[in-house]
């Protein structure tokens, strides 16, 4: 038997069982409280400054400006929140989307806009075309670099091992004084052992990440247009005997979705077109491996697409195997524009 009024709304997928109007009122109330608190704080601050300084000492220095900034921020955040909530109450999904699009066009002009005006939904090519190449027109940026991950792992490892050294020092001191604590000893042993294992793992990852020489990819033109041919140039540096090296043009779909309270991202490769493949290549520091080939942009493929929760991405993927090293993979994003409409 259904109740006429539900105190707690349930979330079912993207929908909620609660009243949107009640949600809007609640949101407006929250932002209204922020405005009220901020305004009251600002008022008190001003009155305090105007009162006789003999009784109420003058607020000076950073404390006054900090209070002023916090109160002003509360007023601004609250006012904008109330305004947006009022605008969205009773507005349809399409009308809200239109407001957002217009606001984005107004605020983000030029290179900051997410999509070029004539190609809605297609990402801009600014990040890809701002690096000129040595052999060809553009040098493609690598999709991901292990440097940040390694830096974080280094900091974590240093902190962990510093604590381990302190624990070991305490244990040794206790043994010297003749009052050892078995629990602390065992804990310190486990802690230091874990730290040592982490260091070995980190050094192995560091070797894998930095051992293989850098790979770079250049392309004759950007963005790609369906059905056209482009020249690409692959360069592999380092000192390796590469067993196999393969370049593929890959299309990947990406979907970001809410699952309960979690935000999940799923990626799926939906198309792979081999571009180039070679075997048994000797790479030396003085003679890096360099290969030029033709990249045929597929004429029947979906263009690059980007929206807040969905994306279609194209990239060149370099996969290789070198003697004495684990297989490696490096990705270089590309941009495929929609083909031109047929001439009438």
């Amino acid at each position: 038997m259904s109740r006429s009024f539900r105190f707690v709304g349930k979330k079912r997928g993207a929908r909620r069982t609660g009243s949107p109007m009640a949600a809007g009122v609640g949101e407006a109330f929250f932002y209204g409280v922020l405005v009220a608190v901020g305004s009251a704080g600002l008022g008190l601050l001003i009155v305090w400054e105007l009162l006789p300084h003999a009784i109420f000492p003058l607020l000076t220095g950073w404390a006054f400006w900090l209070l002023l900034a916090v109160m002003a921020a509360l007023v601004v955040i609250g006012a904008v929140g109330v305004l947006l909530t009022v605008l969205e109450v009773g507005a349809s999904q399409e009308r809200r989307a239109m407001f957002r699009q217009r606001a984005a066009q107004f605020e983000l002009v030029g290179d900051n806009a997410p999509s070029p005006r004539e190609f809605p939904g297609v990402p801009r090519d600014v990040d890809l075309t701002n690096s000129p190449g040595v052999k060809l027109a553009y040098r493609l940026p690598a999709a991901s670099s292990p440097a940040w991950g390694l830096a974080l792992a280094t900091i974590l490892g240093l902190v962990w091992n510093a604590v381990g050294v302190a624990l070991a020092y305490m244990v040794i001191n206790e043994y010297r004084s003749g009052h050892p604590q078995w629990f602390l000893t065992l804990f310190a042993l486990a802690y230091v052992g874990l730290g040592a294992w982490g260091m070995v793992y980190f050094l192995r990852e560091l070797r894998n990440a930095t051992g293989m020489g850098p790979t770079s990819m250049e392309v004759s033109d950007l963005p790609l247009e369906p059905g056209r041919n482009y020249e690409i140039c692959l360069m592999q540096r380092g000192r390796h005997q590469i067993r196999s090296l393969e370049v593929s043009l890959v299309c990947e779909e990406e979907a970001i979705f809410h699952q309960g309270t979690h935000v999940r991202t799923e990626r799926r490769e939906v198309r792979r077109q081999p571009v180039f493949c070679c075997q048994d290549v000797a790479v030396r520091p003085e003679t890096p491996f360099e290969h030029r080939c033709v990249l045929a942009a597929p004429s029947d493929a979906m263009h690059s697409f980007q929206s807040p929760h969905n994306a279609i991405r194209w990239k060149l993927v370099v996969q290789g195997e070198a003697e004495g090293w684990p297989p490696f993979e490096r990705c270089f994003p590309l941009l495929l524009y929609p083909n031109s409409p047929p001439e009438n």
Partner: protein, 182 residues
């Protein structure tokens, strides 16, 4: 909408009232959308002309009508929406009858194209949303395709287990249907 007719069986578009409130029937307003110039797909730069009409509703109950040409995603990810064309009509006087036929025209953009991928899908449609008094809201949409991905453009993964086939495209570009509650 309350119909005074008391019939034993519900006709399409009619909903019964909850028990204990008599045998009166509720008829949902009808929203009809018609895209002129029948064709299986549209190309970027082409003009789309669309007629829409509201029926089976008291004119005094209509608060506003919104018509939009839009794309939305329809895959595994959360829904994203892009508005290409939008118009909102509100009665300026009590004599305004919004049950007349309205026409919208717009030039279709170059992107995004209709796409039927594995976890990302992009659909285009004409959507008409009707706002009634007392906060009630209904909409109906008519899909169309903007230079969709052709058969040759299907992604790889054509292994022995196969993949889901592409869903059939829109064949009927004119439709009248019961609206959905917004």
């Amino acid at each position: 909408m309350f119909s005074s007719a008391a019939v034993s069986e519900l006709a399409p578009g009619e909903l019964s009232l909850p028990r204990g409130r008599g045998r009166a029937l509720v008829m949902e307003p009808l929203i009809s959308i018609h895209i002129r110039g029948h064709r299986p797909e549209f190309h970027p730069g082409e003009e789309i002309e669309c007629q829409y009409q509201i029926d089976a509703v008291d004119p005094a109950d209509i608060q506003a009508i919104e018509a939009s040409v839009l794309w939305h995603t329809d895959g595994k990810g959360d829904v994203d929406l892009g508005i290409h064309y939008f118009e909102r009509r509100t009665p300026r006087s009590p004599d305004d009858d919004f049950r007349q036929q309205f026409t919208l025209k717009t030039i279709l953009p170059k992107s995004p194209r209709t796409y039927d991928g594995e976890i990302v899908k992009i659909r285009w449609c004409v959507r008409v949303r009707l706002f009634l008094r007392r906060g009630k809201e209904l909409f109906y949409e008519l899909p169309f395709q903007l230079a969709p991905l052709r058969v040759g453009a299907r992604p790889k993964a054509e292994g022995p287990n196969g993949r889901h086939d592409r869903t059939s495209g829109v064949t009927d570009v004119s439709d009248v249907s019961q609206a959905q509650h917004g």
